[in-house]
Symmetry: C2
Subunit: 208 residues, 2 copies
């Protein structure tokens, strides 16, 4: 690898920062030089926060949300409704849905959506673990809270088919108050909260 | 401070990342979740690179460029021309000028330019230390390699006035091949290399 800067420490730091998505070497250099201009404590806090976060955070064995313990605080919370599981694409979606304050059930994080173009197949997502979780029993309703996109719809339909053999299971989806083509994470909390309340039977949407 | 996320470690990391210039909380969360999806080694490398850079890099006592030693490698290099000092706004400008491969003298990093709007006054910059450095003797030429902006011109003129009492000192500036209104760091290396070679007497530009 070509060394661009005199200082190996700067070179190394710029290289590491530029590995982050959406950050090129120019931006990485700007950030590194910014850190050099600040008090040493600023860079120490940032570096340590990154290291400690990665060391301390793992994934919940039940819902695959991020967690500092084996079971995440949501799964471990006895006051939440464990018979209702909200299926989401990512950890970010859990954070956003929690912020609506409208939901008291638990989650299941898929870790993505089915996307042939990006090479994401169902076996790469936490779908088998969702089916197993439902088959273990105790779950009355699965809410598909996926983006109103081609990939979100495909994933929802795939999960619906996989869960179809489970009798007595209600499979619902967020009310389509979410504008078509939009991702969950860019939807405002009011719309999200309302679409959680007005969720409809998945089977109805197929009939339409 | 409001805690937005369940995990204190995530909260802390997002807060620290969002302190970086141009990075808001949404981007910081995206970066933090990206790091959580990668191998632990990726986050460790990034965190350690930031910490080690900040611990290991200080400023050269002579030219105020970044350095891992008391004197930076450029100032400590006996084969460079120590009688020619190139005055630049920032560390980034040193990196860019070095990349032209056209310059064999030494540098003096001001740490900014005079800007009344941003509240940057001459005493906040490394101008006194430049004057002292010239007064110590052994310097024949000071090249003002500042951006062709209002602030760059003001700073250049201020330094020119401060150094005017030093007889036998040639004060030059980069040839104005640099398009007016542009910053040094966004100029291509070819233009920069040429404007270094065609540098003109500062007094001539005032006469024009």
């Amino acid at each position: 690898m070509r060394q661009e800067f005199e200082s190996r420490l700067l070179e190394n730091c710029v290289t590491e920062i530029s590995r982050l998505p959406g950050i090129g070497r120019k931006t990485a250099l700007r950030l590194a030089l910014h850190l050099l201009r600040q008090e040493p404590a600023t860079a120490m806090s940032l570096g340590n926060a990154i290291i400690e976060m990665r060391k301390g955070i793992t994934y919940c064995k039940e819902c695959h949300n991020i967690s500092q313990t084996e079971l995440c605080p949501i799964c471990a919370n006895g006051r939440r409704d464990h018979s209702t599981v909200c299926v989401v694409e990512s950890v970010k979606d859990v954070i956003i849905l929690e912020n609506t304050g409208q939901y008291s059930g638990v989650y299941h994080v898929l870790g993505g959506v089915i996307s042939p173009i990006d090479g994401v197949t169902p076996d790469m997502l936490e779908i088998d673990s969702l089916v197993e979780r439902v088959e273990r029993g105790g779950i009355n309703e699965v809410i598909l809270a996926l983006g109103a996109t081609m990939e979100g719809d495909t994933t929802g339909y795939y999960i619906y088919r996989r869960l179809a053999p489970c009798t007595d299971l209600k499979i619902t989806q967020l009310a389509r108050g979410v504008a078509l083509g939009n991702e969950i994470e860019y939807t405002d909390e009011l719309t999200l909260g309302r679409s959680l309340k007005n969720r409809t039977l998945f089977s109805d949407s197929i009939a339409m």
